[in-house]
Subunit: 463 residues, 2 copies
């Protein structure tokens, strides 16, 4: 007995018309009448349901009538044109078999559940149409990212997650240990810890990706990243996935070309393969999701320097005050990013050449001595989607900056990172993109907790 | 100025013959003569080098002669047929530019370095031919894995890395904390930890993958996994990547079909796209690497029950003693696995229906009451490559087993896992494959430390 995927049936329904087919999946809804019944059936291979019609000529008709929503079933029947106005085809069942029962109080009933409730039952929410859409888009976007890089000769690198150096020096890391913390009192003897020293979870794979870019020219990472930041916002999670490409012989402006090409490729691919899901999400979120994505693909992304961006923001501030005054040489606030993308450009935009004092040590110092060759890509909804820079490739300049920022450059510190500049280092650039922020942009779902299967946020680590 | 990739030049050299081309990359070797010189050039886009010939008509001839191995350079020149017997083509340089200098004591000199030495300079080893081969195969295998699943409708799921439950109950996990361990004395107050409870790094994503299989029918994970096992063997690392597919409506024998099809697909794809790298590795490792892979692709993988395997092993034990006597109802030893794959079957083999007491709680109990529907795929060299099972889908049987093994089934424990069986659970199966073990099998490189970019093992967490 061949079991078909619903996706394959709907891909060529005419081919299966009046044929007998067998499917396995679940009951999304069940409406019972005296001598017949309707089951909304799905099997997870596509978003759409198939309506199953069964009648009292089935030998187990009475048993079938008792099946609850959520039950796993096998159905054999004939695909016919439907008389109903909600669907073109339906399945006239000749055999219905229960594969796994459900209960009357099944937590997902055919009504609108709140997102908060669905988070509590995160082990059941992937069965809802909303999360079937979100997590299929997540899958499509992940596949598109790999396709983009693989087809352009980038090598996928797995950078380490447990690290002995506090990487970006950015703090807020999770410590990793096998010491029995219950038995610690006073000075900790790290020589007895698993790695013989203090270790934490990596906040970036960039520095190691640079190592590989110096061997393979173009590389990328795609893996989990951890930040122990105690912020309860809609765009922060303690565990998230990040993509970090790193490219040798590439300067800041070439990097922006890559970022733009990359983003458009993903959006185009997801729009093509996830059309039904995006249509559903547009309806669900009541946002002009598809026209936003369409516009991105069809226009050139604006590029302004940080200085130009501040000028734009100050002009607006003169007319209508922001809560935070935009200032040259200083960081921008969320409301500024929102204004730039949602009102001024009405599209994503690149802001480059940032004041050096608010950026990381490894970014290349510009000739003006005040800015670094960094670039942020801002997008509507998720704010900063990508953060990149040309890396400082000059040994002396980097050494001076690391010393200035008290970043250890010895054998136990980032000496190897500095040494990359001694052994055939070259102009190179890279960026990082938070995968969940991309998903917020792609799905219109505005809370990071709803685009991650099992969100990890302060005080929350369920499943 | 268009910069080409060496890969594209070698893909169609006739097209570039007698043309002027420009490349950017690094010096692998440099032989200087009085009035000319040879540079072995690579750019990381393929394994092969290109020989650059330059003469004293270059304006910077004397400067070029001083370039050390490892330097980053840009070269413009004419591709010509080579007179040398080691290569078909070479590049006659018309312009050579230094992009990044190297030093005379560059740690990678053109001689054979030991693997131990190369591990110490793990930030430079990706530049050697050995590690260019290994990590390109790693990339190809990763891409093949995604391709396999994506083209067959599996949904890629990111299961959580930080977890509040000790998952398999397997122990040996890393604790994750933001508490200041230096200041702990006595009872630990986990309500003050980041997640408000004790958390650790996940040893598997399987249980969460099952959640998604119940929504999407076929899913897979591909992410890092952590085991704080204090074993210094060639096949164990504390941080490794794992692939865990989970399939609804799939029993143990169908699972073996998937495993076999999956493995053959990857091997075939890597053999096709990594032919040069495999040829190099075969030479380097002095093993019949390609014929081993060829044989796998072209034959059916043997399937024996655990009982049959023990019978085979006992027959051999009667003639020639193992160190460990093979016993019915007990686990097999490394030497047994080695005998089965390397001598008896001379190929990988499946061993299924294992004694229940040595396997995990979630594996489906067979009718005999003594075994569970588990299957290990054993391969030459890396031993157990895949471990899978049909999952226990019967609520009562699973509940009894969890109680028996003292696995908490309440709201704070694995109650949700049990409840999956209450809400439309169905026959389902899945397996896990250690990515590095696959790489040991694919590359013939026998130490896990040499197939991971930056290995994490007891007392070792560098870079």
């Amino acid at each position: 007995m061949t079991i078909l995927d619903l996706k394959d049936v709907f891909a060529a329904p005419e081919q299966f018309l009046d044929q007998q087919i067998t499917l396995q999946g679940w009951v999304r809804n069940h409406r019972r009448q005296k001598s017949f019944g309707f089951i909304n059936f799905y099997d997870g291979t596509m978003l759409r349901d198939l309506q199953i019609v069964y009648e009292n000529d089935l030998p187990n008709f009475e048993e079938v009538q008792k099946w609850f929503i959520g039950s796993a079933i096998r159905v054999t029947g004939t695909l016919v044109k439907s008389q109903g106005k909600n669907q073109a085809y339906e399945l006239k069942a000749t055999e219905l078999v229960l594969e796994g029962a459900s209960t009357e109080d099944y937590p997902l009933q055919p009504k609108k559940h709140s997102l908060e409730y669905l988070r509590e039952i995160a082990y059941l929410r992937p069965r809802t149409k909303l999360f079937q859409s979100v997590f299929r888009i997540r899958n499509l976007a992940a596949a598109a990212i790999h396709d983009y890089f693989q087809s352009r000769g980038y090598v996928y690198v797995h950078t380490p997650l447990i690290t002995g150096n506090d990487a970006e020096g950015a703090g807020q890391t999770f410590q990793v240990t096998t010491l029995d913390v219950e038995k610690i009192s006073g000075k900790v003897d790290y020589s007895r810890d698993f790695f013989g020293k203090k270790t934490c979870l990596a906040v970036t794979g960039q520095l190691e990706a640079e190592i590989y870019a110096m061997g393979f020219k173009r590389v990328y990472t795609f893996g989990p990243t951890f930040r122990a930041e105690n912020s309860n916002t809609k765009t922060h999670a303690a565990e998230f996935w990040m993509i970090e490409p790193e490219i040798a012989f590439c300067d800041l402006h070439q990097l922006m070309d890559v970022e733009e090409d990359f983003l458009k490729y993903i959006v185009r691919d997801v729009m093509e393969k996830g059309a039904e899901e995006l249509a559903f999400l547009e309806q669900y979120t009541k946002t002009p999701l598809r026209s936003k994505l369409e516009a991105l693909v069809n226009s050139k992304i604006a590029r302004v320097s940080h200085e130009e961006a501040i000028t734009i923001l100050r002009e607006r501030h003169a007319k209508k005050k922001f809560d935070n005054e935009p200032k040259y040489g200083e960081d921008t606030a969320k409301e500024h990013e929102k204004y730039l993308t949602e009102e001024y450009f009405k599209s994503p935009c690149f802001v480059y050449n940032w004041p050096k004092d608010i950026k990381s040590f490894y970014m290349r110092r510009n000739e003006d001595g005040k800015t670094v060759a960094a670039v942020d890509l801002l997008v509507q909804g998720s704010g900063e989607l990508m953060g990149g820079s040309q890396r400082e490739e000059r040994y002396d300049v980097l050494k001076a900056r690391m010393d200035e920022m008290h970043i250890p450059t010895g054998k136990d510190g980032l000496g190897w990172y500095l040494d990359l500049r001694k052994y055939g280092g070259c102009v190179h650039s890279g960026f990082g993109m938070g995968f969940e922020r991309l998903l917020i942009f792609l799905t219109g779902v505005d809370n990071i907790r709803d685009v991650v299967p099992f969100p990890r946020t302060p005080s929350n680590c369920e499943f």
